[in-house]
């Protein structure tokens, strides 16, 4: 059996899971499921980085565990935390009983009182889950180093409890928006994929699939407009999510063609323009020109 049909089959699976992927992405994802390396996905905001993880978890029919990174993320929120309330309560209850102190301590620091946070949860699932580590660039370097260690050993040590060995190797997808340069070590450990803004055809397919009620004519216009808008010098380019929002908004506003009512189109541009400079910079004349081009 040759490999090509396999990639195509996988591409079709992705499509069934609601994710429209290029063949090269499908090939990478197929490889990703085989090589057991984490996958690092980069690209501008709104090109569908996070959606990859969601689609994979649908295809494999396994849980999706998400760890949203932010500055100051620490072990207590990412890996595990002791359930203090229960521990304190247990201590009080143990006072009443005649139990030896060593055993009492062992009991208080047992898995019963351990709250699993995403990383620990991911490696102790019985079925390998998809672990999405979103916006890794927002966490600080210390956490990145810790993550690197966890991802290579798939085991976590809790001082009070000992080392917890992973029961499975999760499929790890990392996304980054490049607000900070990631360490070379992390980059090297990962497979890498850079997602570009979608081509006209791909974006049209996405809009048609996600919002079939928009209709082919308006969908075509919306996509052409957004594609042209991305070529102008915006501070923040609209992603696919914004295109979908805008198409949905136009549908609500009962616009069936962009040239039908420029005023309404102007009003609905809040879906696409996300900074003050951008909305001030896009004049009516400019919008009319873009609309004319999109028809």
């Amino acid at each position: 059996m040759s490999k090509a049909p396999k990639t195509e089959a996988f591409q079709k699976n992705l499509l069934e899971a609601g994710y429209i992927a290029e063949r090269s992405l499908a090939a990478t994802l197929l490889l990703f499921t085989q090589l057991q390396r984490p996958l690092l996905v980069e690209g501008d905001a709104g090109v569908g980085k996070t959606e990859i993880a969601r689609a994979l978890s649908k295809i494999f029919d396994c849980p999706l565990i998400r760890l949203q990174c932010y500055e100051g993320l620490d072990v207590n929120t990412a890996v595990y935390e002791w359930n203090y309330q229960h521990q304190l309560l247990a201590i009080k209850l143990l006072e009443q009983t005649e139990i030896n102190p060593a055993k009492a301590e062992q009991d208080i620091f047992s898995e019963k009182y351990l709250l699993k946070r995403p990383l620990l949860q991911a490696i102790t699932e019985s079925v390998a889950p998809v672990l999405l580590i979103d916006e890794i660039d927002r966490a600080d370097e210390a956490f990145e180093a810790y993550l690197l260690e966890t991802l290579s050993d798939f085991q976590i040590s809790v001082p009070e409890l000992g080392t917890i060995k992973g029961r499975c190797k999760p499929y790890v997808v990392l996304t980054s928006n490049a607000t900070r340069e990631l360490s070379d070590a992390l980059r090297r450990r990962c497979l890498y994929y850079y997602i570009e803004y979608p081509s006209f055809d791909k974006e049209l397919r996405i809009v048609n699939t996600r919002l079939p009620e928009v209709g082919p004519q308006l969908a075509r216009q919306v996509v052409a407009f957004v594609q042209a808008l991305r070529k102008t010098d915006l501070r923040k380019n609209p992603g696919i999510a914004e295109s979908l929002d805008w198409a949905a908004a136009l549908l609500r506003l009962k616009v069936s063609s962009l040239d039908q009512d420029i005023e309404t189109v102007m009003d609905s541009l809040v879906c696409l323009l996300k900074t003050r400079e951008d909305s001030a910079g896009l004049t009516r004349g400019e919008v009319e020109r873009l609309v004319a081009g999109a028809l």
Partner: protein
């Protein structure tokens, strides 16, 4: 629609020839600046097993994901892949000036980064070298690529009186510089917010009554200063004071680093840290070949990015001291500065000429650098440096 995350069987047997070719490909990528290790060589074999060579496109996609680490790599990969796997005819297209296989890595890198201007720059360089080879006594204004082979005198660094003024000021600066407050917290015996985990742990001792409280506090981290001092001839008047500055900084800040550059970049952190004036003199003299010669800012920054930039983090403040007179093409500077800027917190450029009446930063390199600079300030002697205190503290 469960699709079996189960392993696929390898679909293609790989013969020894392909194995060798793959390893060679990874080696050549490594020479071209890709960061790859043994693990990648092994996984490349597995990629080939799954995709086979009958579908080159799949092999390309697979290897691309495996070998690239960032967008730069991503965009360069196709050319590299074509150059290696396609017939020799197309191979010529890749590198404008392909170097011999045995050539040192640094030279290859330079060719690649310099793009099409490789050969032209070479001619330029030798022209400068022979034309103005007037030796040490000849007056050389502005920038040149020539290295000065005489050894400079560093006794000034040991001048106790001057050094003390610098040290006092730098220590003052180090104390006052704004510390980055991290969101991460550390354990304290006093404070306002309770550290639950440790408190529970402590309370076990007292049968569950939290008598001994533990507190947490945010960590404040000192900025890491990285100093890049231009010590070329055009800067000769000022390098004394800046090397003193570097010495003070390296001593006062825990993990500061200092570099000197002219046509090459040299790490002088260890050297200036030495307390013994004779040893200091000795170790600086050893690395001073080329001191007070020409300047190659872009090249030095490239080397910095390649060898040292990975040490920068979001606490780093990079201070470049230079007059911006450079013999490298100005358009080589922005990409390098952008790389530094992406890794550090603030980028400071101190220009001794800026204090002069009527000077405007109009040299090509300076103009190219301006958009990336957070603080652009004059500094030509100790007094002007001290005057910068407020600006530096506020960074």
């Amino acid at each position: 629609m469960r699709q079996a995350p189960a392993r696929l069987e390898p679909q293609f047997a790989i013969d020894t020839l392909l194995q060798t070719r793959l390893i060679e490909f990874i080696r050549s990528a490594r020479e071209n600046g890709f960061s790859l290790g043994i693990a990648e060589e092994i996984d490349a074999q597995r990629v080939a097993q799954f995709s086979g060579i009958t579908h080159p496109q799949h092999l390309r996609w697979g290897l691309r994901s495996l070998m690239c680490a960032d967008r730069d790599d991503w965009e360069r990969f196709d050319a590299l892949f074509n150059a290696y796997w396609r017939p020799v005819r197309t191979q010529r297209k890749f590198q404008p000036s392909p170097s011999a296989p045995g050539a040192p890595q640094a030279a290859q890198r330079e060719d690649k980064k310099g793009g099409g201007q490789g050969a032209a720059a070479e001619v330029d360089r030798s022209g400068v070298g022979t034309g103005r080879d007037a030796g040490d006594t000849g007056v050389q204004k502005g920038a040149s690529r020539q290295e000065n082979l005489s050894q400079a005198d560093f006794r000034f660094l040991a001048d106790a009186g001057q050094m003390r003024i610098v040290e006092d000021w730098v220590e003052h600066l180090a104390r006052r510089m704004r510390r980055k407050i991290t969101r991460r917290e550390k354990l304290q015996c006093q404070g306002r917010r309770i550290h639950m985990r440790r408190t529970v742990r402590n309370s076990l001792r007292y049968g569950g009554t939290p008598i001994q409280l533990a507190f947490r506090r945010r960590i404040r981290l000192q900025p890491r200063l990285v100093l890049l001092v231009d010590v070329s001839r055009s800067m000769a008047m000022y390098s004394t004071v800046f090397l003193r500055f570097a010495r003070g900084i390296v001593k006062a800040f825990a993990d500061a680093e200092a570099f000197a550059y002219h046509t090459r970049l040299i790490n002088i952190t260890q050297a200036v840290r030495q307390a013994d004036p004779i040893k200091l003199q000795h170790s600086l003299s050893l690395i001073s070949l080329g001191w007070s010669g020409g300047t190659r800012i872009a090249e030095s920054l490239t080397v910095f990015n390649r060898d040292y930039a990975h040490r920068l983090n979001d606490r780093s403040i990079v201070v470049i001291v230079s007059d911006g007179l450079d013999t490298d093409a100005p358009d080589r500077i922005p990409p390098q500065l952008e790389k530094i800027k992406r890794r550090c917190r603030k980028l400071v450029w101190l220009n001794p000429l800026l204090g002069r009446e009527g000077y405007e930063p109009l040299t090509g390199s300076m103009m190219a650098a301006l958009p990336f600079i957070d603080l652009f300030a004059p500094a030509h002697n100790l007094q002007s440096l001290i005057a910068l205190e407020t600006a530096l503290i506020a960074l």
